[in-house]
Amino acid sequence: MSILVGPDTKLVVQGITGKEGTFHTLRNRAYGTDVVAGVTPGKAGQDVEGIPVFDTVAAAVRETGANTSMIFVPPRGAAEAILEAADAGIDLVVCITEGIPARDMAEVHAYLDGGRTVLVGPNCPGVISPGQANVGIIPGEICAPGRVGLVSRSGTLVYQIVHELSQLGIGQSTCVGMGGDPVHGIGFIESLTLFEQDPGTDLVVMVGEIGGDDEERAARHVSERVTKPVVGYIAGFEAPPGKRMGHAGAIVTGSRGTAAAKAEALESVGAKVGRTPTEVASLVQAALA
C-alpha cells in the first residue's frame, strides 16, 4: 500500500517535450509508472517514445483517462498549468517547476482550496511509492519497498535519508517531496493524515527545515491526530537569521522559524528527532524493532 501514487496512477506530463520533461517522463515510465499522455500546446498528434501528446490537459484526460499530472512547464507558465490540470479534473498535480512567483502560487492556492485536486509542490522532487510508481525526479534506485512513510521539504534530504534507511534494510511505503517554496500544496499535516490512514505505513519520517511554522503546526497535529510513531529531522541549526538559505522558504525571520524551535516542538509531542540524517535512520530502526 501507499499514498498519492500507486498502481492506479495514470500520468499525464505537462511540458513533456522539453528536455527535462522528456528525460524524467521516460525514467518514470521505466520505473513502472503508467504514463498515458503528455501535453505541449501546439504539438498535438506527436508522440514521445510512443506517449501521445495533446494540446490541452482536458483533451489528454478525455482521450486517456489520466488522473495524475506532473508539471515541467517553465516558471512563467507553471501556475497556469496547475490551474489547467485542476479544471480538467485531475486528482493529483505534482509540480516540479522551481521559481514560480509567490503571488501566482497564492492565487493557485486560493483557487484549489476546497476543491478535489491535490497539489504537491511546486519546487519539489515529486512522489514515489517504491516498487509501484514514481512521479517526479526522485531516483528510484535508492528507494526500497517497505512500510516507512517519508515527507520532506527538501529534495536532496529525501535522497540522503532514504539512502540511509535503505542501507539499513528499511523500505518505504511512499516518499513525498513537498517542496521548499513558501506557498505550496500538500504539507506535513495532509501527508501525516494520509499516512495515518494507510495500512501499508507503520511509521512516518518528517524532514523539515528553517522558516515558516509548518513543523510547529504539524507537531500539534501529531499530538492530536497521529497514532503511528513519528521520527523527525530539521535542517538549518547553523543558519543565521534574515538570510535566505537556497529555498525561497528557508529563512529565519526574527525569532521565528528556527531549527531549534521546530525540533523542540516535535520532541514536545513525543516524536524522536535525529540530529543527523544517519541518526534519523537509527531512530527509525530502533522504533521499528
Partner: protein, 376 residues
Amino acid sequence: MGKDLFARHGVPVPRGIVAEDAAAASAATGDLGGTSVVKVQVQIGGRGKGGGVVLADSPADAARAAGRMFSEGFKDMPVTRVLVEERVPIAEEFYTALLLDRSTGGYLAMMTAEGGVDIEELARTRPEALRRVPVDPLLGLRTYHVRELTGVLPPRAREGAADVVRKLFHLLREEDATLVEVNPLVLLEDGRVIALDSKVTIDDNALWRHPDLDELRAAFPIDPVEKRAKDQGLQYVKLDGDVGIIGNGAGLVMSTLDVVAQAGARAANFLDVGGGASADQMATSLEVVLSDPAVKAVLINIFGGITRCDLVAEGILEALGRVGAEVPIVVRLDGTNAEEGRRILTEANHGRIVSAATMLEAARRAAELVGGGEAA
C-alpha cells in the same frame, strides 16, 4: 528602496533627498528647512538601533552625520548613499504591514495603534492590540477589510490610514512584494497620515516581471562575494566559520552545515550548486568559496540523484586545474554513479583531495583539518 516604491505608488512619505557625500547632505538639509533626519541606505534591517538614523538640527550637523556614515560604513557594509529627510511634526505613531502569509498561503494585513513597538513581542503578549485581517488573493483588498483594519486607530487617523493601506496593497500585488511594512505609520499634527519608515521585501522568483527593480536593488551594496555568486546563479551565503561548504540542494547543504558544527567546526558559508552540477558550476563554486580568506578547508558534499557523481568528480578535477587550491578539499560522493566518481578522484591522485565515504565521515575529516574537530 522601500521609499522609491512608495513614491511610485503614491504612498505619502516625508520629502527626502538622496546624498552621496557630506556636502550634499548639508545642502539637502538646507533645502528641507534647516533640520533633517539622515538615514544610511543599505539592504539590511536594524539601522535605527545601530546609529544608521541620525537627527540633524542644522546643515552642519547633517554633514557631520553623513560624513561619519560614509567613512565608517554601517555594520561592516560600505555606505555610498544616505537619505536626507524632512523632520515632520508627529502627533501619533502606528504600525501597519501587508504580507504573504505562508501558513495560509494568502495575504494578511495587520495594523495596530501602537507605534515604535516590537511587533513580534506585541503579537505574543497582547494579540488583541494587533488587528489581523486575512485577504483572499483572488478577491483582493475590499472596503470592509480596510474598515476592519483602520477601526483599530483613533477616528481622526482612519481616513488617511485607509488611503495608505489601499496604496500599500496595490504595491504589494503589482510589485510582487512578499512584505510591505510601515513602522511607524504616523499621524501628523495637520491630520495627514504618512509612512515614516518602511521595509519592502520583493519575491526573487518574480524579478523577471520587474527589470526596473533589479536596477533599483543594484544601487544598494551587498557583500561582494555574495554578489559574485549571485551573478553566476549560485546560492551563496557568507557565514563566520572556516570550513567552506559546497553541496547540491538547499536542504542537504543546510544539513551539512549542521553536521560540520556537530563535528566541532563551523561552516564558512552556505553554497548550493543546484541540480546538474556541471564542471563549470563546480569551478565557479570553488572559486567563490576559496576567495574567502577565512576558509581553511573545503567540504564538497554531493548526493547524486539526477546529478551523476562521475561528472561531478570530473568537474572537481577540472575546477582544480583552473583555480588551484591551497587548502585541503574533502569530497563525499554518494548516489548515482558514486563508485565511478570516487574511482576517478582516486586515480587522479590529487594532493589536496581527501575522499570520505559518508556525510558524517566527511564532516569529521573537515573538522579535523581545520583543527576544531573531536577525535573521530
